[in-house]
């Protein structure tokens, strides 16, 4: 059967399945087929036409189907994405700082606060001590001979404000804060009596630090608060709100 013949048969099969003619009209063209073969050919031809029609519908439905779910998933993703974004933002803005504060609160201690403030005091030119005492105490202090400073200070019969300050600083360097406290207090009391301000700011600041290290938190807090609120104080610039808050926490924890 040549190509022309097959296209003729194809045309006839179309007409039959579309109900336009009966196969009886084409007995000469379809004479090569037995009854069963013709029935099978017709059924397959119609099934092919059915497949073409259904596939044409399927293609259009699939296009809409895919577009619909693509947009739908994108919207769902956007909603999820926004949710994730805001969740992350909330974590960053609320949870993370809260965790940091909790960590700092839990690890807050007098030693940490002390370490954040303490610097070894550097002696300036002494304004009050006697020449001989000043020279010896100051030179030993500057040489880091703190025990010798204490020994010499204890042996003095007359102790000036400057001598007491150097001895108090030496006690601090020797981690004997309880011994430093009365010396700083003596300097402050003396200033009240004499109405002077000799070493007043230094005495207050280092007394507050000594109280802190000696775990006398209330006294330390009162002094540091006074220094923090006094903008004219020499050591005011060393303190900040965060330090005072951490000190407050220590006060609450005690």
């Amino acid at each position: 059967m040549n190509k022309r013949d097959y296209s003729e048969i194809d045309d006839i099969l179309d007409k039959i399945i579309m109900g336009k003619v009966s196969e009886d009209n084409f007995t000469d063209v379809l004479s090569g087929y037995t009854g069963d073969e013709l029935m099978k050919e017709l059924q397959t031809h119609e099934a092919a036409a059915v497949a073409i029609q259904r596939n044409a519908v399927l293609r259009q439905v699939s296009l809409v189907h895919n577009a619909y779910f693509k947009n739908r998933n994108k919207e769902a993703w956007t909603v999820r994405g926004n949710f994730r974004f805001w969740l992350s933002a909330a974590a960053i803005l609320i949870v993370v700082p809260a965790l940091i504060v909790m960590f700092l609160y839990a690890t807050n201690s007098p030693d940490r606060l002390f370490a954040s403030q303490y610097h070894t005091y550097r002696l300036n030119v002494d304004r009050t001590s006697s020449q001989s005492n000043k020279e010896l105490l100051a030179s030993n202090y500057q040489a880091g001979k703190y025990n010798e400073v204490i020994t010499q200070f204890e042996s003095l019969t007359s102790k000036s404000v400057g001598d007491k300050m150097i001895a108090a600083f030496a006690y601090m360097e020797l981690n004997n804060y309880k011994a430093a406290i009365p010396l700083f207090n003596a300097v402050i009391s003396n200033n009240i009596v004499t109405r002077e301000n000799l070493y007043q700011d230094e005495a207050e600041y280092y007394l507050a630090l000594s109280y802190l290290k000696a775990k006398q938190i209330e006294q330390s807090y009162q002094l540091f608060s006074k220094i923090y609120s006094d903008t004219e104080h020499t050591f005011n610039g060393r303190l900040n709100k965060w330090f005072i808050m951490r000190l407050k926490w220590l006060r609450e924890q005690n």
Partner: protein, 196 residues
Amino acid sequence: MDLAQEFLQPDINRPVRYLYEHFFEDAATEIRLKGGTEEDAADIFQEAVLILIDNIKSGKFRHESSVKTFLVGIAHNLWLFEKRTRERRASRELNFSSSETNYSEAENFEIGERIFSKSNTDVIQTIFKHVGEICSKILVGFYYENSSMKSLLQRFHFDNEQVLRNRKARCMKKLKKLLTDQPELLRQLKILSVYE
């Protein structure tokens, strides 16, 4: 134009979009309530849409129920069938007594041959890929759009009508060969009739 009427046109993009945009969520909710997933709902809904269109184009949709009721009803029944098939595997039971909604026309719909099942539609699409793009277009033009040979000749620029007829016959022959290689699908297709 009535929604069902729109499906009688060759271009059905707009009414199909309407079905998805207005009725998918209802069908998906039904399917989810009966234990299906989002993916199940998508596949089942596409099958239900194809069945609805086939019923309309074949003149079987009698407007006894609304398009929505019919569509959601078919989706509901298809899902119960699918679920039961999955559960029992070999079971061919078609009786669904658990339906609480009155789907009237859809309830009478027999889910005997799932010609538009996901597996079948995948095979059909693969077959037409093998048929080729030009062949597919010629065949769709002739059998689906009911275009005349003369208009197809203008569209596809063949030398003359006989060349086009020869090409169309060869395309049909190739398609029939591919379908013969899928006997189960061919058997199911033979149950259906060409659209008028």
